[in-house]
């Protein structure tokens, strides 16, 4: 009897300790990326304006796939992939995939010059305060989030993409 009770007590104590440790490890891993949404999470909603002051709200794109790209004029890979993105945009905009290109808060002159230079047709919005970058926990550039028609993040891509990559990504979020 005594032995049995002792085993029960030991088991209970160990379970409590294990639960506390398990929770800590879980909270650490989940909290380590606190506020940094990644594949499987809902994409944090935001509101940003383009150079003309027009507002874009992510949640307005429900029902469509969103190719959310963070970029800067000083980012070398961006200079290659933005024209590629534009080419794919011409094809996939009619298939329900939109591109939102978030500039990391540079001067209007620099952004306008870049848009003109590469003749970009998708909306370019400016994250002047850096709040959206913080909400998505991005660095370095370029950083791309694939968001499906339900507003969920399908994937997060860091680094340079070419036409073929972008096409494959677009396919994944096509509604």
């Amino acid at each position: 009897m005594v032995k049995k009770r002792r085993l029960v007590i030991r088991t209970v104590v160990l379970i409590i300790l294990l639960a506390a440790i398990g929770y800590t490890i879980y909270a650490n891993i989940a909290g380590g990326s606190a506020g940094i949404p990644r594949a499987g999470d809902m994409a944090p909603d935001f509101v940003l304006r383009d150079l003309d002051g027009k507002e874009y709200r992510l949640s307005d794109y429900r029902g469509k796939g969103v190719f959310l790209n963070f970029w800067g004029t000083y980012c070398e890979p961006c200079k290659d992939e933005m024209p590629a993105m534009d080419r794919q945009y011409q094809i996939y905009r009619d298939r329900g995939v939109e591109i939102l290109a978030v500039n990391v808060g540079e001067s209007e002159i620099a952004i306008q010059k870049f848009i003109d230079q590469y003749d970009l047709s998708f909306p370019v919005v400016i994250d002047e305060t850096g709040d959206v970058q913080k909400a998505y926990g991005i660095y370095p550039l370029p950083a791309t989030f694939l968001i499906d028609s339900e507003g969920k993040i399908v994937d997060y891509i860091e680094g340079r993409m070419d036409d073929r990559d972008i096409q494959a990504y677009m396919e994944r979020i096509k509604p």
Binding site: R6, L7, N28, D45, S107, T129
Partner: protein, 553 residues
């Protein structure tokens, strides 16, 4: 193993060394010693007695003090290694941490990063190590405190001769009239705050038993501290972020989910000067500039309703404040601390438009480096347009470009329109140099002055676990005090047919104890116990259990 029945009639748990009741030696190994090991009162440490199921095996592993010490040493070594390179949170890096450690510290940095030393407090193995210490602490304490408690509760007045004779303080002798003296001795013991019990001529006096619980109480304190540390990982309990905010700027305070905003009105640095007290003069002459004050003047706002990232918030002023070193601005559970600053960062540049021929100044323009205007109309047909802006210019691959979005080294491509040149003249202006790529111009932009702005670096802190951690610390100290300033003292006197056996035990301060016994037994026929410690079977060691003052934890 079976339960052990002592000749006194008490049934002891398996593994018992000294009978809980009378103290008779039950373990043959112990019998060979001249002085018995009084650690844990010779009680059976449970951990060592059952070893059947996996639960028992895990339990026994953590019950070992040796394992506990090894875990603590490992944690110490890991923490020490964690100080070799800067921790990720204390560095400002523009590249991913993996790259940062590799570029700056080579192969060592790479290994350091891979093993998680770059962010030690958040690396899983380190947390597991600390957790293992917590488990060890809990199980070690349970396994020792409970048997000790039971043994002390069950001890009887009359002890077995083998127990009496193997105490460190012991003496025996014939006494004629013990019956007459037992009351005197008891009375003196009571005056010394002993609890005295007698039983057919045998006497047992005890005081300060509570001091034995000191170490376990301080273990409870440590466990509470660990629980507090655990809560830091829970959402909403702990925030530690940096907010860089320049003068004139309003920004969302990180960690508040866009709920609180802050405006930096001014950042001030003050140094001591002649107007300060005379006593400082010598120090000032020696050291030159000495900082007197770092201060940020701010206004705190709360956003109305929920604000999405990037959205312009509707702000309601909460309060104005001055943040100085050690004088944070507090709101809700947050504190904003003055932690760092950057002085004289470029914010605007002023140029004069000059006609080269006559050196005549046509007009002035001030360019905001954060977001320059496209066009500056100086009147009378003079217009300066910015064609391109490079905040941090470099010349690479045959073209101008910017290294970063920060105005560290700005350069502009201007188009200068004038009545003589309505189509404009092209001019590229760097901080030190002006280029006129399309031929000699009639007009030039002359750099006049810069405006600078100061950045304040504020630490955003929220720690709702502090109360619990302080409570744990207080419990810890309480345990230390109990264990350190009181001793558990016991004296046994046994009437053994004309002979009187006297023995005594304490967990520390044997000298003081001896003096006390001498006072109690003075002018009586009771033989004063002799300290047989210090060499004989290493009794100090025997009495230096981990339970004495908690110093082993």
């Amino acid at each position: 193993m079976e339960r052990v029945k002592c000749e006194c009639g008490h049934v002891n748990p398996p593994g018992t060394i000294l009978c809980e009741a009378c103290g008779k030696i039950l373990d043959p190994n112990e019998e060979k010693k001249l002085i018995i090991d009084m650690r844990y009162e010779g009680a059976a440490r449970r951990s060592q007695t059952y070893n059947r199921t996996i639960i028992d095996k895990i339990w026994n592993f953590f019950s070992s003090v040796k394992v506990g010490v090894v875990l603590i040493v490992l944690a110490l070594i890991a923490s020490a290694i964690g100080t070799i390179l800067p921790q990720e949170m204390n560095t400002t890096m523009n590249v991913p941490p993996k790259q940062y450690y590799e570029e700056n510290y080579g192969v060592f940095g790479r290994i350091y990063y891979l093993l998680g030393f770059h962010d030690l407090y958040r690396s899983t193995w380190y947390i597991l190590l600390i957790a293992a210490i917590g488990v060890s602490l809990t199980i070690c304490s349970i396994d020792r405190a409970l048997p000790l408690y039971k043994a002390l509760k069950r001890q009887r007045i009359t002890r077995h001769n083998s127990f009496m004779k193997r105490q460190r303080l012991f003496n025996e002798g014939t006494v004629e009239n013990w019956d007459d003296q037992i009351n005197t001795v008891s009375e003196r013991m009571r005056q010394k705050k002993y609890r005295v019990l007698t039983e057919s001529g045998n006497l047992f006096a005890e005081k300060g038993r509570f001091s034995r619980w000191g170490p376990y109480i301080n273990h409870i304190g440590l466990i509470i501290v660990l629980i507090g540390a655990m809560f830091r990982f829970a959402p909403g309990m702990y925030v530690n972020e940096m907010l860089w905010i320049k003068e004139g700027e309003t920004k969302a305070i990180p960690g508040t989910d866009q709920r609180y905003y802050l405006t930096n009105h001014e950042f001030i640095v003050e140094v001591y000067d002649e107007s300060d007290r005379e006593v400082y003069r010598e120090a000032l002459e020696k050291r030159g500039k000495i900082i007197k004050n770092f201060q940020t003047n701010v206004t705190l706002y709360e956003a109305e309703g929920e604000v999405l990232p990037g959205e312009d918030p509707q702000l309601k002023e909460i309060k104005k404040g001055e943040i100085r070193v050690n004088h944070p601005l507090r709101f809700e559970h947050f504190g904003l601390y003055q932690a760092s600053y950057l002085l004289n960062e470029l914010s605007a540049m002023t140029f004069q438009l000059v006609k080269k021929e006559t050196e005549e100044v046509i007009g002035e323009l001030t360019i905001d480096l954060e977001n320059p205007e496209k066009r500056y109309d100086l009147g009378k047909g003079y217009i300066v347009e910015i064609l391109a802006y490079f905040p941090d210019v470099e010349f690479k691959d045959g073209e101008l470009r910017t290294k970063s979005p920060n105005p560290n080294n700005p350069a502009f491509a201007f188009q200068i329109r004038s009545p003589e040149h309505p189509e404009g003249e092209r001019s590229v202006v760097f901080i030190q140099e002006t280029l006129e790529p399309l031929g000699e111009n009639d007009y030039k932009l002359v750099f006049k002055e810069v405006d600078t702005v100061n950045y304040s670096g504020l630490m955003v802190r929220k720690d709702r676990t502090l109360g619990l951690i302080a409570f744990g610390g207080a419990i810890f100290l309480f345990g230390v005090i109990l264990g350190s300033f009181w001793q558990h003292r016991r004296i046994w006197i046994k009437w053994d047919g004309g002979k009187l056996l006297v023995s005594a035990h304490t967990n520390k301060n044997w000298y003081g104890f001896m003096k006390e016994i001498e006072t109690i037994l003075a002018d009586t026929d009771v033989p004063i116990p002799i300290d047989r410690g210090g060499g004989l079977d290493k009794p100090e060691r025997a009495n230096k259990g981990g339970d004495v003052n908690g110093s082993t934890k």
